[in-house]
Symmetry: C2
Subunit: 371 residues, 2 copies
């Protein structure tokens, strides 16, 4: 195995692929990146057996890849990435020089790294598992950033640690909830087929870092796994098993109170009223009346109160309390200038949407307070 490539090209692909590696994997070879060099391409693979990422690099004018001999090896990712970062030259050469001993070099320095034989690397399947749908990269990023934060980080109900994506009649409904808040985005597709899967948020959080702004992403699915494909990059993930709750019936439709306000104004007020507490939770109280909204917080040591002016408020006076972070997150991801908040009462879940566009819906459960 012997090839030469633009250092920055290899570095960028290694950075992506290595995101699949989990540093507490029990299998030593999974701490490594598998490199397979054939006559037409080099292929990088990394995996923690839940997420697997593969990148094919073909010779192009840009990457100046030159393949001198074929072969394969697994290189410990930590050292391999560190070496590539330390290569100051435009090009780097990588060659197996003796058994598993691999040389990574430029004209200044020669690094040597003891690899692991590729045959010790587990077999990972990057074949399409089922039907495919196609979605714009930007849109997929938006879906992820507007929903995934609301998923649960507790393993008590594993299905809630994922993003549920359901497709019916070319309408995609994406939902994440930790059962105290819920984020839902609906998207109409040109193409599509009916499915209902729950994708681990860890995969989606890695995916969002890796997706380039432009282009289209192919997603191939069955009921066990999903494969994301773009730019000769393949990201495979297991799905979370189990039935996702029927969230549609949790979302209320009748409201007695409606607030319209600038997103920035409400975000700033919630931020000011939220103090970094030892238990990590800031409870915010909101008192709504015609023409003014009073936002306050109070604990034994510290308190805050301020009044903001809404664009409009319809309904009787209402007092409601909630976790500041939940409402802050929900408003922030809407990316809206003005928002609409619809309430059913002091102890009923309330809904936050952008005033312009109701594709994204954020639901938050209030909290009972005793003052």
């Amino acid at each position: 195995m012997y090839f030469k490539i633009l250092t920055s090209e290899l570095a960028s692909k290694l950075n992506i692929v290595s995101k699949a590696i989990s540093f507490n994997s029990p299998l030593p070879s999974l701490q490594g990146i598998k490199i397979v060099v054939t006559e037409e391409k080099i292929q990088l693979t990394a995996s923690d057996m839940n997420i697997s990422i593969q990148s094919d690099i073909f010779p192009t004018e840009d990457n100046k890849l030159e393949i001198y001999s074929t072969g394969e090896i697994v290189l410990e990712s930590r050292y391999f990435l560190e070496m590539i970062r330390k290569i100051d030259s435009e090009y780097v050469e990588i060659e197996i020089i003796d058994g598993n001993l691999t040389s990574i070099r430029d004209q200044f320095v020669n690094f040597e790294l003891n690899g692991i034989k590729a045959e010790n690397y587990p077999l990972i399947d990057f074949e399409r598992p089922g039907n495919s749908l196609f979605i714009k990269a930007n849109l997929l990023k938006e879906i992820i950033s507007q929903t995934v934060f609301a998923a649960s980080d507790k393993e008590t109900r594993p299905v809630l640690t994922g993003l549920n994506i359901k497709c019916e009649n070319n309408e995609l409904t994406c939902v994440a909830t930790d059962s105290y808040r819920l984020a839902q985005k609906k998207v109409l597709l040109d193409n599509g087929f009916d499915f209902n899967v729950t994708i681990p948020t860890k995969t989606l959080n890695e995916l969002v870092k890796v997706i380039d702004g432009e282009g289209e992403i192919e997603i191939s699915l069955n009921d066990k796994k999903a494969l994301f494909m773009f730019d000769n990059m393949f990201i495979s993930t297991r799905l979370i098993e189990g039935n996702y709750p029927e969230t549609a019936r949790l979302i209320p439709h009748d409201f007695e109170y409606e607030l319209i306000v600038e997103a920035r104004t409400l975000l700033n007020a919630i931020n000011r009223a939220s103090f970094i507490k030892n238990d990590g939770v800031s409870i915010i109280k909101m008192e709504l009346a015609s023409g003014e909204v009073v936002i306050s917080s109070k604990s034994s040591d510290v308190g805050s109160v301020e009044t903001i002016t809404p664009d409009s408020y319809e309904g009787n006076n209402l007092s409601i309390a909630f976790k500041g972070q939940y409402v802050y997150d929900a408003i922030r991801v809407l990316n809206a200038f003005k928002i609409k908040v619809q309430f059913g009462g002091t102890m009923k879940p309330f809904i936050i949407t952008s005033l312009d566009n109701e594709d994204v819906l954020q639901l938050v459960l209030p909290i009972k307070t005793y003052n």
Copy 2:
């Protein structure tokens, strides 16, 4: 107590003063910042009883301080700083409104914080403890940055966790060592008196963040404490007790080998050869011969070798090994274009200085290797 001040001025002084606070202090009042408002100034004080910082703020055209009524209170620093950060307005008002309840407010928001009575705050003495010397702020920063890194971080010999500063005949000698490496800087003063003190590195590391580039710093000393004064800012520190070792006799004067090389070239080579190991130690081997220096590292998994061209090398061939980080740190702080490295032999301490200027001397002990 009631005053109004430019928010940014209060924020910057609070940031400095709060550096003295240690969050595992047993005394609750020491988690706070003491504010004393008299008719002519406000005074902020914080301390962990080892380091204490006090800032006097007098009304000026710039800070627009207006004092409406005098008084004193201790405010929990974490909440107080968070509130001041959250004040968006140019000015902030602070007022004790009821007992210990203090209002921190602008036209948008009213924060309330329950304080602690100032009488519960320990008495901290900011009087000059003894004679004073005066030193340029820039020079003090340079002394600290070129020496303190070499001090020990282990409490087994407490005196080695400090910077020893000795003044004899107006010559200041500043030394830090962990007994494997040593950094020494000599400075000639216009003024001075004989003393020999050891200042905790923690104090100096905080001091360096706080000192403004320009101006002069007054340092008043006795054998128990030091007080640094500048810009109405007072930083008091206990000194480390015990005799500092006589380091002068550890520094060799006869050398058989002398290398002159660009600092940047050697730094880059050491950096490339140093891998992030689990035990945190990278041993670098240097083989010196006329016209070339080979820098290499080797462990069971990973190795590196490169050749650099020195400006000159005098002496027989020499092979020597050392901790990469020690030599890297030593060269880096010299801020030199070219450096001189003088060796006495494979197992003798070697000396690194700037080629232009030998005020700063860096000594490193080599390591024995078996290959």
